[in-house]
Symmetry: C2
Subunit: 575 residues, 2 copies
């Protein structure tokens, strides 16, 4: 702080001069001591000067209300919410989240540095603090066919950007523990910064080796015991409550029943649709749910504020104390925990507030490169014997690798698998470089009847992914996404029912969240109607079925992938 | 970590290769989760590889014992223990302290950069981690006559040294909150590092302004309520239990009775004599005492380990987890908390282990520059009326400013104060630059009879300080300290009873702790015998009576100083 400013603010802090702005009479959450105290909060230039007895040139009466530091989402992908970054931030900020630790992993997988630059530019002038973790696994693995490769060399130019905090979730645990040169070049580049993890259910020795590489967070744990194992290994546990993966009940339930020390726990959403943010909330929902489960509200608030700030070295965020940025969330009471107002740098965030956000570069709106695609590419010859079947699980992104006899049909070209009796067809179609690669597999548990569902959002390579009970509708779905240059689509009985175009890298809409929500609601209702079980979020669950780093079995444009065995099968009938 | 090494250690962490060294079968304190778990700890090259089931090429059986991270003293002055830095570290390390956050404030006040370099060099090859905070207040205030001035300009050359962590305790709160240029130059120099505080009982507004300047720790709070105030202002509270200042009972007592969140509390000793370290312990004593007061042992251990490490940004210290430095303290049980063994970087610290410590440069052993000193300089003319009397308080370094009628005697030169009826004489004699400045005052509560006690350790300027009930013995005491070039001395009835020479900057002995302890024990016993109350540590309490930053009244070579009023009086009779 410039000395002239400090002198003025010091006078205000000491009450010798009226502060610029004072929030009067709230119960203020003191993050360092984990308690509420009654007091006025003095502000100048977006910075807290002190908490005590103050009067200001401008005053905001908060009598009877609860003033908390703005919440921090310690890990999320902006792209997953389908709207532009500015849209998402605005909606989540209205829920009380004022700091976002963002991994632009999806954009980087489609468009490389240009994708990262897009996220940085779009979040420059939003009413929130947006920090970026450099995507570490682009592509996620060697079996991926994505749009770009991000090497340590390419990352170097980002090191000096003040909003680049560290290395994004390191998903390729195998490369880490085996000491792969290219992976360790990236880890070394961020040696003195935070390196985020992605480590679902590593064996104890592997987890130790993974932590030894310097990785200090994880948001992938789905149960209490594993969360504790990670924490014992020195990692912050970022408790995730998103659209597809909901881990909060399991982890917080364990914390409550065992009176666990929560110093190294934070909250994140990872991937959450804007429609759910609007309906349920953002990090405020993590807090509310944790409190409902019996976690003391003070502990939940610390997870959402100062602990996340400390985890990421953000020394001036996450508390209401002198020198901290004036990011506040006003709550009605400690039971309902409704967010009444939100402030960023002392300024109220308004529902209609838009920053000055630049348009998307045209190149990033033409990213589905799939000049030739025929229905024949979807045929799956039945080789006889048992097939690897991808069992989908409600509310989870993990899958089970079943080996089962599956139905088939004789054709002139030989026996082919037919989607019947609960078995469906799934396909991943490469869309970045016109390679024509198409992998076809068999899934169970997704239930769609008389049509197909497809998406160009398909972690992490974002090829096209489609599930259906007949080839014609699956083919139509792929054609539709070529036409719209990305999106979500539902095809029923030979007709496109509805499409949500996502032209920005095939990941995001530029239509605004109202349109996105409206279309999505309609499509989701239809998807359930077509037989998809209600414990799935149809499009989000679909979007994880090609991710070759989450157990046990996935579909990729090169074929079926067995995650634990690290084995690619050209057809599900390969043993 | 170099990749070849990582690959090898990863194999060891995963149990594919035997680890270099394994600590078997201990109950291991997991700092991140605040719990004990049974496990083996695998080590290589002084680094923890993992906690779990391991076998090693070398194994140390710790069955039935408790393995904790090495303890951290979050704030201390090495000089105050009277022995050379290496001696102190060795003794404290044997008590389980493996990391020392050191402020070489005393050395800097006597010898400037040379004094700091001395501390850095002496702690280069010790069996512990020694980090240095750059002394911020040299001299402590404008009313001080010390040996050197340390400006921001002079500090710059230290910024790149990896063991310089931040700015040392900022004692001059007035300069901070008033925005003094020279003070804020120093604060700005360490903007992105830790800036330690020293803020006994600031008013709420002043404390806010002080924290606003970026100061984030304090070790001066003596009670629970103020500790909480500091913590609410975003400051870590370093709970001090030293030789002179013992604040632990008051603060931890409050914590226990109110179930306070202790995330932002740590432990320190500040100033502790080696004799007491040997008898009572070091940070292990803080832990033991806190547990006796009812603090859960896990919370006490976190204060002594990971919380202190996080406070100072030491990301690889304070826990037993992969990648952390293998600094361990082995305890017998959780009740007695006796330290059985201590390890630094996986190596056992032995009682006889001396590092390769260079000798003290000759210049630093000739620092008492006082060529002319006469007994007349000690005469205190009695001006009539009430005098400011410095009331000393047992177990505290704060004093009270009494205004009382004091005894006097008629002489040919007029009325002079005579030390009688509980009133004693105190004098501070400038010793760095032969200025001849001598301040004389009146104290109460110290009780010495028939003699004088003197010291060249006298915070923070380290001029000579002497208290006695007659001028002759006080004069003899000063002469003795000129002869020995610094030290502690006791004079009784015209004869030097005993002197502990402290020739290194007038602060430290080079005789080894056994000699220091033996002589000190004898002198302290004698001091009590001469009437000093047993709730004082005679020499340490004496050494704080010239410190013009601790309320309420002090003696300096320029006269009596009223701390709160910031007013220097030529004589205690000035109103």
């Amino acid at each position: 702080m410039e000395l002239g400013k400090y002198r003025l603010y010091s006078e205000m802090a000491r009450g010798e001069k009226k502060a610029e702005l004072v929030f009067k009479g709230a119960r203020v959450f003191m993050a360092h001591t984990g308690e509420f105290v009654d007091g006025d909060v003095a502000i100048a230039d977006g910075i807290v000067l002190g908490v005590g007895h103050y009067s200001g040139r401008r005053e905001i009466d908060l009598t009877g209300k609860y003033l908390c530091p703005g919440f921090i989402d310690s890990h999320l992908h902006l792209e997953s919410t389908l709207v532009t970054p500015g849209e998402l931030i605005r909606q989540a900020a209205l829920c009380g989240t004022t700091t976002f630790i963002v991994d632009p992993h999806e954009s980087a997988n489609v468009s490389g540095s240009e994708g990262i630059d897009y996220i940085l530019k779009q979040t420059e002038n939003v009413p929130a603090n947006v920090y970026v973790m450099m995507p570490s696994c682009v592509p996620a693995t060697d079996v991926d066919d994505n749009g770009c490769t991000l090497t340590a060399g390419k990352m170097k130019s980002y090191l000096d950007q003040p909003r680049i905090l560290g290395l994004g979730e390191v998903m390729d645990a195998v490369s880490v523990v085996n000491g792969s040169v290219s992976m360790h070049e990236k880890l070394a580049l961020f040696e003195n910064r935070v390196r985020d993890g992605h480590a679902p259910f590593l064996e104890p020795g592997d987890l130790a080796a993974y932590a030894l590489a310097g990785i200090s967070t994880d948001h992938e744990c789905v149960d209490y015991d594993y969360a504790m194992e990670e924490c014992r290994n020195g990692m912050y546990v970022l408790i995730r409550e998103g659209s597809a993966a909901r881990n909060l009940d399991a982890i917080v339930g364990g914390i409550v029943s065992r009176h666990t020390d929560t110093s190294f726990f934070c909250f994140c959403t990872d991937d959450k649709h804007i429609e759910e943010i609007r309906r349920e909330g953002h990090i405020n929902y993590n807090i509310k749910r944790a409190v409902q489960l019996g976690l003391p509200v003070e502990k939940a608030l610390k997870m959402a504020t100062i602990q996340a700030a400390r985890c990421y070295g953000l020394s001036r965020l996450g508390a209401i104390a002198p020198g901290y940025q004036a990011d506040f969330t006003v709550l009605d009471n400690l039971k309902d925990l409704n967010v009444l107002e939100v402030y960023h740098k002392g300024r109220k965030i308004l529902a209609e507030s838009h920053g000055n956000i630049p348009p998307c570069p045209p190149d990033l709106k033409q990213t589905v490169h799939l000049d030739h695609f025929s229905q024949e590419q979807l045929i799956l010859p039945h080789a006889g014997g048992k097939a690897h079947v991808l069992q989908m699980i409600g509310g989870q992104i993990v899958t089970e690798d079943l080996r089962e006899e599956v139905p088939f049909q004789k054709t002139e070209k030989g026996n082919v698998f037919i989607p019947e009796g609960g078995y469906l067809k799934i396909a991943a179609v490469e869309r970045h470089k016109n390679t024509g690669k198409t992998g076809v597999g068999i899934v169970k548990g997704f239930g769609i009847k008389g049509g197909a569902i497809a998406s160009s959002v398909s972690h992490d390579s974002h090829n096209l992914i489609v599930i259906g009970d007949n080839d014609r509708d699956m083919y139509l779905a792929v054609r539709e996404l070529i036409r719209t240059q990305g999106g979500y689509t539902l095809v029923e009985n030979g007709k496109v029912y509805e499409t949500l175009p996502l032209p920005i890298m095939g990941l995001m809409s530029d239509a605004g969240y109202e349109t996105v929500n409206k279309v999505l609601k309609k499509m989701i209702a239809k998807a359930y109607e077509m037989g998809i079980p209600k414990d799935f979020d149809p499009f989000i669950t679909l979007s994880f079925m090609a991710l070759p780093v989450v157990p046990e079995i996935r579909i990729t444009p090169r074929g079926v992938y067995l995650v634990k065995e690290e084995r690619l099968l050209k057809t599900p009938f390969e043993q």
